[in-house]
Symmetry: C2
Subunit: 182 residues, 2 copies
Amino acid sequence: MSLRHALLGHLSWGRYSGYALMKHFQRSLAYAWPARHSQIYPELARLRQEGLIRQTEDEGPRRRKLYAETERGRDEVRRWLREEPNRTVRSEAVLRIFLLWLLDRDEAVEYLQREAEYYRALLAELEEIADEGDDLGVAKHLSYRLALEHGLRTTRARVQWAEWAADRVASSRWSASSGGER
Amino acid sequence: MSLRHALLGHLSWGRYSGYALMKHFQRSLAYAWPARHSQIYPELARLRQEGLIRQTEDEGPRRRKLYAETERGRDEVRRWLREEPNRTVRSEAVLRIFLLWLLDRDEAVEYLQREAEYYRALLAELEEIADEGDDLGVAKHLSYRLALEHGLRTTRARVQWAEWAADRVASSRWSASSGGER
DNA sequence: TGACTCATGTAAGAAGTTACATGATTCT
DNA sequence: AGAATCATGTAACTTCTTACATGAGTCA
């Protein structure tokens, strides 16, 4: 259950509404642990019921609810952080590479070029965030900078990989796969 | 629904039993699209019912079932490959980095060193696979080699990142976070 | 006043995990 | 004979996505 720890961790930093947390998930956390509002709101309600977070007295405009951490919540994230991490990564983009041979060469090259373009755009976005140096104030933490640097480095690796891969395929004989015994 | 396309794509290459497919998911595909046998077997049954794969006449020992692609199945993977890819990546390891400031400095350094170690071991494993050059025969395809190269490059980037990050944290003042207003 | 963003929810269904269950073959 | 691996399934539960639903404040 990583979502709850992502939420708890964010609330360790300060008070936020569900909406603000959702926005944060759309930005920095989108590349680590994506989540929609329809998952965030019920989870916040559950965390509150379990006493891992609490709702602060003051309600904002439009009935905005503000949440803050509790001692038990803080303890729970730390406990979780000390657990053996689950290093599973799920990436449709990588799965597609395995199956790329099912397209013909020109299509595969185009596909890889679009991948390169996507990663270049992502890299530009991450570099911008790195320059701004601030995202909801959380950037003050070195750990935020570490996560950003992880994104920068792996994205750079992907840009270079995709450009290399497009070249390799373009200059290869490529295996025609249209036929095959059925 | 990426699992079905992963299965269809594999069966485009040849005939396999559910068990063989599962083994393949444990190896090369574990870092792209992990799946357990409890998800694979029902999905194969569904694909068969829908006519996207078929069961070959011959049954192996221990009632082993062998599946093969159908024309409709092949068309379906290709259609999917031409769709706009979903580039979402979900990684608990990256999420943890964002929350690392909740640990104290020594714990954070140890954590990052363990990450470096894990990625070094993974890199060694991938390099071994690259040397063997064969995995269920699928390695003949350039696209398999592309996927492997993607793994090698991103894993190398992660090793270097983790080593850099451990150093950075070790030599930083780090933000003591034990307290905080609650 | 109309469009947009803020703000919070619920419901139905798909996808994924963990646990339960069973039997055949092979290898030592 | 016993252990390990091959081989295939189901059930219960959790997690995630998509769609539905609604209302308040802000800005042009």
